[in-house]
């Protein structure tokens, strides 16, 4: 079987459109998901049993159900209640909801990891509330939440492929369309796969730079013990 680049030459506008929609949907779902996630995290940290239970149930339920089923329930459930919305909008909202459960857990853990009294101490040495947030609390919370948030965002971008099953014309959908027209799965999925790979590598790279700027601890001290390293390290130590 030979790789036929003519297919990619002929259909590249479809792949491009699909990739662009995937990026747009991911950005919107990220904004929606993170906003909701922060709200749910704050709800869970409120005093009293009821808000905590509500937040915990929201997180547990959304995390236990496959995204494809969350998507279908919303997509088929809305017309049921008399509301008919375009598939890309439904898909974006569903993706945002799905991600919000994970973001909520990340934000909650980030806030709980903050040592007590940081804000008060900053105020006590004469910082304004804004300065305390900007210089003391903000950086510490950011350092804790950026790495897991990056992971979750990459997961979310990848989950967006599932939107193809409700006919949202994103990258995977366009791939399946071209595959239906050409019966050339190898070329089509090679292209789709490489585009996804490129998108996630770009996001991971940007997040990595952000982590460096925030001073997230990089690679832990590598064992200097050669014998132990031969078992416990999976990479060769970089030459120093």
């Amino acid at each position: 079987m030979a790789f036929d680049p003519a297919i990619l030459v002929q259909y590249w506008p479809l792949f491009l459109q699909g990739a662009w929609l995937t990026i747009q949907i991911s950005v919107q779902a990220f904004l929606l998901g993170y906003t909701l996630g922060i709200a749910v995290a704050l709800l869970g940290l409120m005093p009293g049993r009821l808000p905590r239970l509500a937040a915990a149930s929201y997180v547990e339920v959304l995390r236990a159900i496959p995204f494809i089923i969350i998507l279908f329930v919303i997509y088929y459930g809305l017309p049921f209640s008399g509301l008919r919305l375009p598939a890309p909008l439904v898909g974006t909202v569903a993706l945002g909801l799905f991600a919000s459960a994970y973001y909520a857990e990340i934000v909650r853990a980030g806030i709980l990891a903050l040592p007590r009294g940081q804000f008060e101490s900053a105020r006590a040495i004469g910082m304004s509330p804004l300065q305390a947030m900007r210089h003391i609390v903000g950086p510490q919370v950011a350092r804790a939440i950026v790495p897991p948030s990056t992971n979750m965002t990459l997961t979310m971008i990848k989950e967006s492929a599932v939107l193809s099953s409700i006919t949202v014309p994103e990258l995977t959908y366009q791939g399946l369309v071209v595959q239906g027209n050409t019966f050339a799965p190898f070329e089509v999925f090679a292209a789709v796969t490489l585009i996804y790979w490129g998108i996630t590598l770009a996001v991971a790279g940007a997040a990595h730079r952000l982590e460096r700027r925030l001073g997230v601890a990089q690679a832990r001290s590598v064992s200097r013990n050669r014998l132990a390293a031969s078992y416990l390290l999976l990479e060769r130590e970089s030459a120093r």
Binding site: M1, I68, I69, T193, Y196, S230, L232
Partner: protein
């Protein structure tokens, strides 16, 4: 149209039977992924440069592309190069490979938390390499990655719902078949959601209990 609870209750037995398909496939995938992930970890520890380079690309690829696309690759592309797999086999292979990679990455993180002194002690007792792995490293490693494995199990269960897209008759596809006959998609999909909720909450709960037992043993 109103939500009919009686209808939902009536179709739960059908969905529960279909859930056995998801459970059976999930169990197979988790066993395969645990074996695959462990083998991959030991292989990587040998630090054979070309082998590790290939594995590094594979890891980046699996982590950087959607599981759905990986399932499509096994289902649509392998037949094109002469390897015709049934939808079930293709799906199980795709998710198992995906999960192996994630388990191996977890193990990589857990390995460096093992005390180097134990390796020195085992070597001083002239324990051969395979026994250092089998008797010293792996038992501790499995214990350390257990919480992540429980989480990975729920991810695998959720992943099996994607197999409905390549025509495996699982909970979701059964729900869709029922819905296309009855024109009540909302209730049937809620039913499918409830099935997954029940399975995954049970796994999390069991996982927490098992972890609790290990914690007591360690103390």
């Amino acid at each position: 149209m109103s939500f009919q609870f009686a209808y939902l209750a009536g179709l739960m037995p059908n969905l529960a039977v279909a859930a056995l398909v998801n459970l059976r496939l999930s169990a197979m995938i988790i066993v395969l992924a645990l074996i695959g992930g462990t083998a991959l970890t030991i292989l990587r520890s040998l630090k054979i440069r070309p082998v590790n380079a290939i594995i590094a690309v594979l890891i980046s690829f699996i982590r950087g592309t959607p599981l759905l696309i990986q399932i499509f690759l096994f289902y649509y592309v392998l037949p094109a190069i002469g390897l015709d797999l049934s939808p079930t086999v293709a799906g199980v292979a795709a998710i198992a490979l995906n999960s192996s990679i994630f388990i191996s990455e977890t193990m990589r993180g857990a390995l460096i938390t093992i005390d180097p002194g134990q390796i020195e002690a085992a070597t001083a007792l002239s324990l051969p390499r395979h026994l250092v792995w089998a008797k010293v490293i792996l038992p501790q490693l499995f214990r350390r990655v257990l919480p992540v494995l429980v989480n990975e199990a729920t991810i695998v269960v959720k992943g099996t719902a994607l197999l409905s897209v390549i025509t495996v008759v699982d909970v979701l596809r059964t729900a869709q078949q029922i819905a296309s006959a009855s024109y009540r998609p909302f209730e049937t999909l809620i039913g499918a959601a409830l099935v997954f909720l029940a399975i995954n909450l049970t796994i999390s709960l069991l996982g927490r209990r098992v972890e609790g037992r290990f914690a007591v043993q360690r103390a």
